[in-house]
Protein backbone atom coordinates (compact mmCIF):
# COMPACT_ATOMS: atom_id res chain seq x y z
CA UNK A 1 0.00 0.00 0.00
CA UNK A 2 1.51 3.35 -1.00
CA UNK A 3 0.71 5.77 1.78
CA UNK A 4 1.42 9.32 2.87
CA UNK A 5 1.90 10.63 6.39
CA UNK A 6 -0.95 12.60 7.97
CA UNK A 7 -0.71 13.67 11.60
CA UNK A 8 1.14 10.44 12.52
CA UNK A 9 -1.47 8.33 10.72
CA UNK A 10 -0.73 6.61 7.45
CA UNK A 11 -3.29 7.55 4.85
CA UNK A 12 -4.05 5.67 1.65
CA UNK A 13 -4.20 8.15 -1.24
CA UNK A 14 -7.36 8.19 -3.34
CA UNK A 15 -5.71 6.55 -6.35
CA UNK A 16 -4.66 3.60 -4.15
CA UNK A 17 -8.20 3.19 -2.82
CA UNK A 18 -9.56 3.36 -6.37
CA UNK A 19 -7.04 0.75 -7.49
CA UNK A 20 -8.24 -1.52 -4.66
CA UNK A 21 -11.81 -1.01 -5.91
CA UNK A 22 -10.65 -1.87 -9.43
CA UNK A 23 -8.93 -5.04 -8.17
CA UNK A 24 -12.06 -5.96 -6.20
CA UNK A 25 -14.19 -5.62 -9.35
CA UNK A 26 -11.67 -7.65 -11.35
CA UNK A 27 -11.77 -10.44 -8.74
CA UNK A 28 -15.58 -10.37 -8.76
CA UNK A 29 -15.58 -10.60 -12.56
CA UNK A 30 -13.56 -13.83 -12.26
CA UNK A 31 -16.00 -15.55 -9.90
CA UNK A 32 -18.13 -18.44 -11.24
CA UNK A 33 -21.27 -16.53 -10.22
CA UNK A 34 -20.40 -13.48 -12.33
CA UNK A 35 -19.22 -15.54 -15.30
CA UNK A 36 -22.43 -17.60 -15.29
CA UNK A 37 -24.48 -14.43 -14.99
CA UNK A 38 -22.70 -12.87 -17.98
CA UNK A 39 -23.13 -16.02 -20.03
CA UNK A 40 -26.83 -16.42 -19.26
CA UNK A 41 -27.50 -12.70 -19.71
CA UNK A 42 -25.96 -12.88 -23.18
CA UNK A 43 -27.97 -16.00 -24.05
CA UNK A 44 -31.14 -14.30 -22.81
CA UNK A 45 -30.50 -11.17 -24.89
CA UNK A 46 -29.81 -13.25 -27.99
CA UNK A 47 -32.85 -15.52 -27.64
CA UNK A 48 -35.64 -14.24 -29.89
CA UNK A 49 -38.41 -16.25 -28.21
CA UNK A 50 -37.39 -14.94 -24.80
CA UNK A 51 -37.33 -11.35 -26.03
CA UNK A 52 -40.76 -11.74 -27.65
CA UNK A 53 -42.22 -13.31 -24.50
CA UNK A 54 -40.75 -10.50 -22.39
CA UNK A 55 -42.12 -7.88 -24.76
CA UNK A 56 -45.61 -9.47 -24.75
CA UNK A 57 -45.67 -9.60 -20.94
CA UNK A 58 -44.38 -6.04 -20.50
CA UNK A 59 -46.82 -4.63 -23.09
CA UNK A 60 -49.78 -6.30 -21.41
CA UNK A 61 -48.62 -5.18 -17.97
CA UNK A 62 -48.19 -1.62 -19.24
CA UNK A 63 -51.67 -1.60 -20.77
CA UNK A 64 -53.13 -2.74 -17.43
CA UNK A 65 -50.93 -0.54 -15.26
CA UNK A 66 -53.68 1.70 -13.89
CA UNK A 67 -55.92 -1.24 -13.04
CA UNK A 68 -52.95 -3.02 -11.45
CA UNK A 69 -52.19 -0.04 -9.23
CA UNK A 70 -55.83 0.06 -8.16
CA UNK A 71 -55.85 -3.72 -7.70
CA UNK A 72 -58.88 -3.74 -10.00
CA UNK A 73 -58.10 -6.44 -12.58
CA UNK A 74 -60.94 -8.77 -13.48
CA UNK A 75 -60.30 -12.53 -13.55
CA UNK A 76 -59.82 -12.64 -17.31
CA UNK A 77 -57.25 -9.84 -17.26
CA UNK A 78 -55.44 -11.34 -14.27
CA UNK A 79 -55.31 -14.79 -15.86
CA UNK A 80 -54.04 -13.39 -19.15
CA UNK A 81 -51.28 -11.42 -17.41
CA UNK A 82 -50.27 -14.40 -15.27
CA UNK A 83 -50.18 -16.65 -18.32
CA UNK A 84 -47.93 -14.22 -20.21
CA UNK A 85 -45.64 -13.96 -17.19
CA UNK A 86 -45.52 -17.72 -16.87
CA UNK A 87 -44.81 -18.12 -20.60
CA UNK A 88 -41.89 -15.75 -20.14
CA UNK A 89 -40.24 -16.91 -16.92
CA UNK A 90 -40.58 -20.63 -17.57
CA UNK A 91 -38.50 -20.47 -20.75
CA UNK A 92 -35.27 -22.35 -19.93
CA UNK A 93 -33.07 -19.49 -21.12
CA UNK A 94 -34.95 -17.07 -18.86
CA UNK A 95 -34.93 -19.46 -15.91
CA UNK A 96 -31.18 -19.91 -16.24
CA UNK A 97 -30.72 -16.13 -16.32
CA UNK A 98 -32.94 -15.64 -13.24
CA UNK A 99 -31.08 -18.38 -11.33
CA UNK A 100 -27.70 -16.93 -12.27
CA UNK A 101 -28.79 -13.46 -11.22
CA UNK A 102 -29.98 -14.83 -7.85
CA UNK A 103 -26.58 -16.50 -7.32
CA UNK A 104 -24.78 -13.27 -8.18
CA UNK A 105 -27.04 -11.27 -5.84
CA UNK A 106 -26.24 -13.68 -2.99
CA UNK A 107 -22.52 -13.21 -3.60
CA UNK A 108 -22.80 -9.41 -3.89
CA UNK A 109 -24.86 -9.27 -0.69
CA UNK A 110 -22.20 -11.27 1.15
CA UNK A 111 -19.50 -8.92 -0.15
CA UNK A 112 -21.59 -5.85 0.68
CA UNK A 113 -22.17 -7.19 4.20
CA UNK A 114 -18.44 -7.77 4.68
CA UNK A 115 -17.73 -4.19 3.56
CA UNK A 116 -20.51 -2.71 5.72
CA UNK A 117 -19.46 -4.58 8.87
CA UNK A 118 -15.84 -3.52 8.50
CA UNK A 119 -16.31 0.13 7.60
CA UNK A 120 -19.21 0.86 9.97
CA UNK A 121 -21.51 2.20 7.25
CA UNK A 122 -24.19 0.39 5.26
CA UNK A 123 -22.54 0.09 1.85
CA UNK A 124 -25.68 -0.19 -0.30
CA UNK A 125 -27.63 2.46 1.59
CA UNK A 126 -24.64 4.82 1.50
CA UNK A 127 -24.46 4.41 -2.26
CA UNK A 128 -28.01 5.73 -2.51
CA UNK A 129 -29.66 2.41 -3.19
CA UNK A 130 -33.22 2.21 -1.87
CA UNK A 131 -35.45 -0.86 -1.58
CA UNK A 132 -36.39 -0.28 -5.23
CA UNK A 133 -32.76 -0.30 -6.36
Amino acid sequence: MENMEYENIEIAPLYVVLQAAHDFAAALAETPQYKTFEKTAYAFRQNQAAQQAREAYQQKRKSLNTLLMLNALNDEQRNELEQLQSDFITLPVVQEYIDAQAELVTLCQALGDALSESIGLNYAASCGVSCCG
Binding site: A20, Y34, S118, A124, V129
Partner: protein, 124 residues
Protein backbone atom coordinates in the same frame (compact mmCIF):
# COMPACT_ATOMS: atom_id res chain seq x y z
CA UNK B 1 -26.11 -20.33 4.34
CA UNK B 2 -22.78 -18.53 4.35
CA UNK B 3 -21.34 -17.70 0.94
CA UNK B 4 -17.86 -19.14 0.45
CA UNK B 5 -15.52 -16.68 -1.24
CA UNK B 6 -12.67 -17.68 -3.50
CA UNK B 7 -9.21 -16.87 -2.16
CA UNK B 8 -8.68 -14.07 -4.65
CA UNK B 9 -12.13 -12.61 -3.89
CA UNK B 10 -11.42 -12.72 -0.15
CA UNK B 11 -8.02 -11.08 -0.64
CA UNK B 12 -9.45 -8.36 -2.87
CA UNK B 13 -12.24 -7.70 -0.35
CA UNK B 14 -9.77 -7.48 2.55
CA UNK B 15 -7.55 -5.13 0.53
CA UNK B 16 -10.48 -2.87 -0.35
CA UNK B 17 -11.60 -2.76 3.29
CA UNK B 18 -8.04 -2.02 4.46
CA UNK B 19 -7.61 0.80 1.95
CA UNK B 20 -11.03 2.28 2.67
CA UNK B 21 -10.29 2.34 6.40
CA UNK B 22 -6.91 3.93 5.66
CA UNK B 23 -8.41 6.63 3.42
CA UNK B 24 -8.47 10.21 4.68
CA UNK B 25 -12.28 10.29 4.55
CA UNK B 26 -12.69 7.23 6.76
CA UNK B 27 -9.95 8.21 9.21
CA UNK B 28 -11.64 11.59 9.66
CA UNK B 29 -15.01 9.87 10.02
CA UNK B 30 -13.73 7.42 12.66
CA UNK B 31 -12.08 10.26 14.57
CA UNK B 32 -15.29 12.31 14.49
CA UNK B 33 -17.30 9.28 15.61
CA UNK B 34 -14.93 8.69 18.54
CA UNK B 35 -15.19 12.37 19.52
CA UNK B 36 -18.96 12.25 19.29
CA UNK B 37 -19.11 9.14 21.45
CA UNK B 38 -17.10 10.93 24.16
CA UNK B 39 -19.11 14.16 24.00
CA UNK B 40 -21.74 14.10 26.76
CA UNK B 41 -23.31 17.39 25.67
CA UNK B 42 -23.72 16.16 22.11
CA UNK B 43 -25.33 12.94 23.30
CA UNK B 44 -27.72 14.81 25.57
CA UNK B 45 -28.70 17.13 22.72
CA UNK B 46 -29.33 14.22 20.33
CA UNK B 47 -31.43 12.42 22.92
CA UNK B 48 -33.42 15.58 23.64
CA UNK B 49 -33.99 16.15 19.93
CA UNK B 50 -35.10 12.56 19.38
CA UNK B 51 -37.54 12.81 22.31
CA UNK B 52 -38.90 16.19 21.18
CA UNK B 53 -39.43 14.92 17.61
CA UNK B 54 -41.25 11.81 18.87
CA UNK B 55 -43.46 13.89 21.18
CA UNK B 56 -44.27 16.35 18.41
CA UNK B 57 -45.17 13.56 15.97
CA UNK B 58 -47.51 12.09 18.57
CA UNK B 59 -49.10 15.47 19.23
CA UNK B 60 -49.41 16.16 15.49
CA UNK B 61 -51.40 12.96 15.15
CA UNK B 62 -53.71 14.24 17.89
CA UNK B 63 -53.74 17.74 16.32
CA UNK B 64 -52.48 19.11 19.61
CA UNK B 65 -49.26 20.97 18.75
CA UNK B 66 -48.61 24.44 20.16
CA UNK B 67 -46.43 27.20 18.66
CA UNK B 68 -44.26 27.10 21.78
CA UNK B 69 -43.52 23.41 21.22
CA UNK B 70 -42.59 24.03 17.58
CA UNK B 71 -40.35 26.92 18.63
CA UNK B 72 -38.69 24.75 21.29
CA UNK B 73 -38.00 22.06 18.71
CA UNK B 74 -36.47 24.60 16.30
CA UNK B 75 -34.23 25.90 19.09
CA UNK B 76 -33.11 22.37 19.85
CA UNK B 77 -32.43 21.74 16.15
CA UNK B 78 -30.33 24.93 16.04
CA UNK B 79 -28.33 23.76 19.05
CA UNK B 80 -27.71 20.38 17.45
CA UNK B 81 -26.59 21.99 14.19
CA UNK B 82 -24.17 24.25 16.10
CA UNK B 83 -22.61 21.50 18.20
CA UNK B 84 -19.09 21.01 16.87
CA UNK B 85 -18.93 17.26 17.59
CA UNK B 86 -22.24 16.58 15.84
CA UNK B 87 -21.33 18.88 12.98
CA UNK B 88 -17.95 17.18 12.49
CA UNK B 89 -19.58 13.74 12.61
CA UNK B 90 -22.21 14.71 10.06
CA UNK B 91 -19.71 16.34 7.68
CA UNK B 92 -17.17 13.52 7.85
CA UNK B 93 -19.88 10.92 7.36
CA UNK B 94 -20.92 12.72 4.18
CA UNK B 95 -17.30 12.65 2.99
CA UNK B 96 -17.07 8.92 3.71
CA UNK B 97 -20.35 8.34 1.87
CA UNK B 98 -19.06 10.35 -1.12
CA UNK B 99 -15.97 8.16 -1.25
CA UNK B 100 -18.11 5.00 -1.10
CA UNK B 101 -20.17 6.28 -4.04
CA UNK B 102 -16.98 6.92 -6.01
CA UNK B 103 -15.78 3.43 -5.15
CA UNK B 104 -19.09 1.91 -6.18
CA UNK B 105 -18.98 3.79 -9.46
CA UNK B 106 -15.49 2.40 -10.15
CA UNK B 107 -16.60 -1.17 -9.37
CA UNK B 108 -19.86 -0.89 -11.29
CA UNK B 109 -18.27 0.59 -14.40
CA UNK B 110 -15.89 -2.33 -14.68
CA UNK B 111 -18.60 -4.94 -14.14
CA UNK B 112 -21.41 -3.33 -16.14
CA UNK B 113 -23.82 -3.74 -13.19
CA UNK B 114 -24.60 -1.56 -10.19
CA UNK B 115 -22.78 -3.46 -7.47
CA UNK B 116 -24.56 -1.62 -4.62
CA UNK B 117 -27.98 -2.48 -6.09
CA UNK B 118 -27.11 -6.17 -6.10
CA UNK B 119 -25.57 -5.94 -2.62
CA UNK B 120 -28.74 -4.39 -1.22
CA UNK B 121 -30.84 -6.64 1.05
CA UNK B 122 -33.90 -4.40 1.25
CA UNK B 123 -36.94 -5.21 -0.85
CA UNK B 124 -40.05 -3.13 -1.49
Amino acid sequence: MQTVLTTSMQEATDALIGNLLASEAFIRYQQALASLNQDVEAHTLLEQLSLAQANLRKKQADNDVTQAEIKALHMLQDQVQQNTAILAYSQTQQEAVSLLREINSEISQLLGINFASLANHATC
